[in-house]
């Protein structure tokens, strides 16, 4: 067994110090060491998007990042975005439009949708599809998810108008 490596990072605004084996990926660190189980693990090779989190402000696949690579960085998970209220309207729109069925893909979908809405206030349906294209919904509820993102974008524009 290889020696553990000390890491220091911020997760949802909280300073975390830990010793981790190098092979531990960020998704497993978040779920098993920090007990933040909103980040889901699907394919474990970067295809499904269920494990999407923010690192230093950018969305990334936490299964394709080692926990040791997050050393010195800042991580935000769905718990952080949810507790701060940042995605409250988006979550409401998903609920309203029944855009979550089994719910497994939902945390990743919310992370990616919020990323798009920060970059683009008035995305077309094609742009929404394109930005969400790396996230699988095995219930195939894609239309409802796109509707919910579109609705949230419209509501935010109206609020800021």
């Amino acid at each position: 067994m290889t020696a553990t490596v000390p890491i220091s990072l911020e997760v949802n605004g909280e300073r975390i110090e830990a010793n981790v084996p190098p092979r531990l990926n960020l998704a497993d660190f978040i779920r098993e060491h920090l007990q933040l189980t909103g980040t889901h693990v699907g394919c474990e090779h970067g295809v499904c998007g269920a494990c999407t989190v923010r690192v230093n402000g950018d969305i990334v696949r936490s299964c394709l990042m080692l926990a040791v690579q997050a050393h010195g960085g800042s991580v935000q998970t769905i718990e952080g975005l949810s507790d701060s209220g940042e995605v409250a309207d988006l979550q409401g729109a998903f609920r309203e439009r029944n855009a979550l069925q089994c719910g497994y893909c939902t945390p990743g979908m919310l992370m990616v949708a919020q990323d798009l809405l920060k970059l683009e206030a008035d995305p077309s349906r094609d742009e929404i599809r394109e930005h969400l294209s790396g996230n699988y919904c095995r219930c195939t509820g894609y239309q409802a998810i796109i509707d919910a993102v579109e609705t949230t974008a419209r509501q935010r524009r109206n609020r800021s108008a």
């Binding site: 067994m1 290889t2 490596v5 084996p21 190098p22 092979r23 990926n25 497993d28 474990e44 090779h45 970067g46 998007g49 999407t52 950018d58 969305i59 990334v60 696949r61 299964c63 394709l64 990042m65 080692l66 040791v68 690579q69 050393h71 990616v112 990323d115 394109e130 930005h131 294209s133 790396g134 996230n135």
Partner: protein, 292 residues
């Protein structure tokens, strides 16, 4: 699945990284963005003894223009290339190609050096390096050398890099004022690996292709600079000439079957791409469907 156990070293500088490579050679793997390496490790396709994390080496990051050259540090992320005003102004082919590389969350971590050193024959950036006539700069403990893109890619996941060498940057000549580019790929879904793709760079003078570089990907064990381009340069393109070039391209390429597409289908798609490319470069849409 989870990656097998490995030892981990965080390189603080290029000197640090190449010193570790000199000791461990092919028992070590360099980790940059990890977007190809970590899937392969998670699937247990590879199990390196040592991971050398070069992600923190600031000198390997960034885009700089000097004279007629654009230099892109190996650790520059796809998203940084995509958003760079220098790339948009001087090598727009690359900006267009990046939009086809995987998905936003992957582009936020994946690096140009990682993609090139990985040398997947279906990936976009190696072909762009051929189309743009890039040089790749590599370093080892014993020194630095430059490798032309045409010599760098040697087979499926095979490059001219020695086990003790680190790719540090790519250097691209600034595209000429009268140049034009074309990029397209056929994939099952947007963001998936291509079944056939084409990155092309041309110089156009008075409706004539004065120079044309056609770099195909996903049609062989490495990106292919098609010799057929010579048939189309310095002359007026007619439907008959394009058909002749298309046949020559079919003879030149030897794509293989895999689960994505048969070799026959890939060859056909490459020929479709040739027509679309020439029609788009010359703004002559009638050439797309032209038959002799």
């Amino acid at each position: 699945m989870k990656a097998a156990d490995f030892a981990y070293a965080r390189a603080a500088s290029v000197e640090d990284a190449v010193a570790l490579l000199a000791t461990y050679g092919d028992r070590a793997k360099l980790l940059s963005g990890g977007q190809s390496l970590l899937p392969a490790m998670n699937l247990r396709l590879i199990s390196p003894e040592l991971i050398i994390d070069i992600g923190g080496i600031a000198e390997l990051r960034g885009i700089a223009v000097t004279g007629n050259t654009v230099r892109i540090g190996a650790l520059t992320r796809h998203v940084d290339v995509q958003r760079s005003p220098e790339i948009a102004a001087h090598t727009p082919l690359l900006k267009e190609a990046i939009t086809h590389v995987a998905h936003p969350a992957i582009r936020n971590r994946g690096t140009i050096g990682g993609s090139l050193a990985h040398a997947d024959p279906a990936s976009e950036l190696p072909a762009c390096m051929l189309a743009l006539d890039a040089d790749l700069v590599v370093q080892s403990k014993s020194g630095r050398r430059r490798i032309a893109a045409g010599d760098f890619f040697q087979g499926i996941f095979q490059t001219a890099l020695s086990p003790d060498e680190l790719l540090t940057a790519v250097e691209l000549p600034i595209s000429a004022k009268n140049s034009a580019y074309f990029f397209y790929e056929f994939a099952r879904r947007h963001g998936d690996y291509a079944m056939a793709g084409l990155a092309a760079q041309a110089v156009i003078e008075g409706g004539i292709l004065a120079d044309l570089r056609l770099a195909y990907f996903a049609v062989g064990d490495r990106p292919v600079l098609a010799g057929t381009a010579n048939k189309l340069t310095a002359k007026t393109i007619t439907p008959a000439l394009l058909s002749e070039a298309s046949r020559a391209l079919g003879d030149e390429l030897d794509p293989q079957d895999d689960q994505q597409a048969s070799g026959v289908m890939r060859r056909h798609l490459a020929q479709v791409l040739l027509r679309r490319c020439v029609a788009a470069l010359l703004s002559r849409p009638e050439l797309v469907g032209a038959t002799a």
